[in-house]
Symmetry: C2
Subunit: 149 residues, 2 copies
DNA sequence: TTAAATGCAAATGATTTGCTCTTGG
DNA sequence: CCAAGAGCAAATCATTTGCATTTAA
């Protein structure tokens, strides 16, 4: 987790990618945060540490990191972008109330094998398995409002 | 598929939900379109048929239909809302190039059983399984641009 | 030195909302 | 008839972009 940052730095250097303070901070913020933060959450978390940081930089850097293959953008139902620095195949536990996302490895729920060919000429490349439910925190805090959906 | 509309109408009447022309058209557009269209795609498809239709109505109706349990908003990586009128559990084949989404039933790829309890006090309620890859159409049209990700 | 990265602010695009008018039941 | 729903336009929110300035290598 902290060693990811070392690997990240080395890999940037190796590829000749400029290692700015912002780049490292944004990557680290993502690697350290298990909640798969939004761009804005990363910005909020770093604005003190990295004085003068701008939202534009955060958005631009997340896009770059994704294109360079250091992070992945995860799919969400609310449409707000969230990122994941964990590149090892894993599943997500998505809370339908607070929208938090937790990682869980294949040991808890084994995902199905990825077939070589799909129906209708579709070529499968990877699986994205989410388990939707209620996280421990939301369950404890009771059903506050009348839980419509 | 066309019978869904009948069931939909009956269910609306039964629940005392006002069955406007817009409501029925939007629901039908969704039920007939296997690509899980965006709000704007629905608006574009219906603006002739339903003259004077406004985007606001489409957005509001999709929200209502979702709250009433007639459709589901599906998770996407690009952040643009897409909806699904198929409530039977199924998987999605997501093309990473054209972003189209195709349904596929459990017969092709069997999803894992949903455990009663998750790790860390998480209570699982449903699975969301997406197979990401390249659809037949994009594969045929060749690797146009240099496919970064 | 110098191309790439940053900050700021303005622009964009999807979605929401206030308010008035229309309409289904 | 009359509250729920629709249309219009302005507002909002996440995200992107143009441009002048800074900076890693």
């Amino acid at each position: 987790v902290a060693r990811w940052c070392t690997i990240f730095s080395q890999e940037c250097r190796r590829r000749g990618i400029r290692l700015t303070a912002q780049r490292l901070a944004i990557y680290r913020a993502l690697a350290c945060d298990a909640t798969h933060p939004t761009a804005d959450a990363i910005y909020a978390a770093l604005r003190e540490e990295v004085s003068g940081l701008s939202r534009a930089t955060v958005y631009r850097m997340l896009e770059s990191l994704q294109l360079e293959g250091f992070v992945r953008r995860v799919s969400t139902v609310d449409g707000i972008a969230r990122y994941d620095a964990n590149l090892v195949p894993h599943q997500h536990l998505v809370c339908r109330q607070c929208r938090s996302i937790l990682d869980t490895g294949g040991e808890w729920l084994r995902p199905p094998e990825l077939p070589r060919r799909g129906p209708a000429g579709f070529i499968p490349e990877m699986l994205d398995l989410c388990i939707i439910g209620i996280c421990a925190r939301c369950r404890r805090s009771g059903e506050r409002r009348g839980d419509a959906n």
